[in-house]
Each structure stands twice: as structure tokens, then as C-alpha cells.
Symmetry: C2
Subunit: 148 residues, 2 copies
């Protein structure tokens, strides 16, 4: 798992400054780690403005240190990246995020040059679950409709 220092170094390596605001923000963010919204950060980080929170998120996304995912209802969420390319398993109840990567799937999608000369330039996979914790805590699992 990346530490605050690791991330600050990565930021500096990218030619950006390791400022106090960024450090404070990263501390909050690292404490959350898996699955949070931008507005949660805005609310939790004291003394750092909304704009800066969003700017920093954008910076981290560009550097590949953070990733943005989409819940079933389309709501955005963020999660720290620990590795390169991966996908997400998100709990629809608590928003916790686990990463996963299945080379089989990667390969299928990559090969999917869709028979018609389309060049695959990327993909996104999100798997929605009810995590063990929420399953116990919880009400019955509503068999949520698929995406499309």
C-alpha cells in the first residue's frame, strides 16, 4: 500500500510541489484508502478548500495514484491505486473497494478488436457486490438489475 510519503514523492517526481495542503489531504485520503467521495474529503480535510481538493484529486488521477470508479447508480467514487491496471469490486452497501485483475478478461477484451477494425483503446470493469460485513449486518440482497 502506498504511504503518504510515497505519494508525495510521486507528486514531486511529476514536477509538482509537495505542499502542506496536499500533505493534509493525502493524510485524510490515506486514512480512508478504499472508496470515498470527493465531497467526503472536502468535509473531512480541515483547512483545505474545495477547489484544492478537486485539483489534487485530478492531479492524483493523472499520475495514476488514484482511480475513479462508478457505482451502479452512476455515482462517482475514488480509491487509492496500489498497482497499475486493475478493476474494482465495490460493495453497493458500504462503498468499500477491492481491486482485482483477471488476465483472462483483459485478454478477451484486448482481442475484441470487434471483428470490424475498431481499435480497442481502453476498458472499464466494475463488479458490484455485497461484502461479507454488509451481508451479515444486512437486510436481504435486492437482486439489482444489470447495467444494460
Amino acid at each position: 500500500m502506498l504511504t503518504v510519503e510515497d505519494i508525495l514523492h510521486a507528486i514531486e517526481d511529476g514536477g509538482y510541489r509537495a505542499t502542506g495542503s496536499r500533505r493534509r489531504l493525502l493524510e485524510t485520503l490515506a486514512a480512508r484508502g478504499e472508496g470515498f467521495t470527493a465531497e467526503e474529503l472536502v468535509g473531512e480535510v480541515r483547512g483545505v478548500g474545495r477547489a484544492t481538493v478537486y485539483r489534487t484529486i485530478r492531479l492524483l488521477l493523472r499520475q495514476g495514484l488514484l482511480c475513479k470508479l462508478t457505482l451502479q447508480d452512476g455515482a462517482p467514487r475514488y480509491s487509492l491505486s496500489r498497482v497499475g491496471h486493475h478493476h474494482h469490486v465495490v460493495c453497493v452497501r458500504c462503498g468499500a473497494v477491492r481491486d482485482f485483475r483477471q488476465s483472462v478478461i483483459e485478454r478477451i477484451l484486448k482481442d475484441l478488436e470487434v471483428g470490424e477494425g475498431s481499435a480497442v483503446v481502453g476498458h472499464r470493469i466494475e463488479v458490484y457486490v455485497v461484502c461479507p460485513g454488509c451481508r451479515e449486518a444486512g437486510v436481504a440482497t435486492s437482486p439489482t438489475a444489470a447495467t444494460g
Copy 2:
């Protein structure tokens, strides 16, 4: 491909009315078919208010007649559903949408009960491509970064 009449029937079967606004909207929507934004519809359908456009979109989504997808940058887009569960191949240039379904992938994701007792309740797969048309018309393919 679903016709306007098919969709209106489905709406009625769901206990909703097949009104003039809905018909006009569906005509525009069917003419677009694959890949459009809500605001495009708002702009194109004459004499139907914004609220009604969004309400109808929501209705169609609930009925599974329309699906909402997410571009690489997170921008939302809609596409008529022709079949049940499927995923999307979206051109990052022109926004055209093709559907696809790979039972292999479905199975893998379904089985992904993630070793830890999480119940999979859904998933979303989006594949981003440059379609043949845009590839020809186009500038060089920028090797877009993956999701996360």
C-alpha cells in the same frame, strides 16, 4: 431493433401512459438509436420540456429499454437496449455504441464471489474503441490511459 411502437407498448405494459410527449421523444430517440446524451435529446425534441425528457429517460432505464453508459472521462451517454443483459463498445471519437456479450466474461465475473463471501449483485463493462469510420477520418490514436 425496437420500434417506437414496441417501446410505447412496453411503457403501457408497465402501467404508464403512451402520451404525445413520450411518442415524440421516442421518435427522436429511435432516430438516434446508438449513443446520445440527454441534453442532445432535450435540444432535438421540439415541444418537450427538459424535465420530461429526463423523466422519460429514467422510465426507460427502469424498464430496461434504454441503458446508460459511461465514457472514459466519465461522461454519461445513453443507448437503446435491444436485448437483455449486455455491455458496450463505445467509440471514443464519435460516441457510437455497439453492444456485446461474452458469456465467458459473464461467467468469470459471476463466479468471482471473490473468495471471501461477497455476493456479486451486478457488473458493468465498457470497452472503448476508435471505430473504423473515425479511424479513417482520423488523427492518430492517442493511447488513452486505462481506468485505474
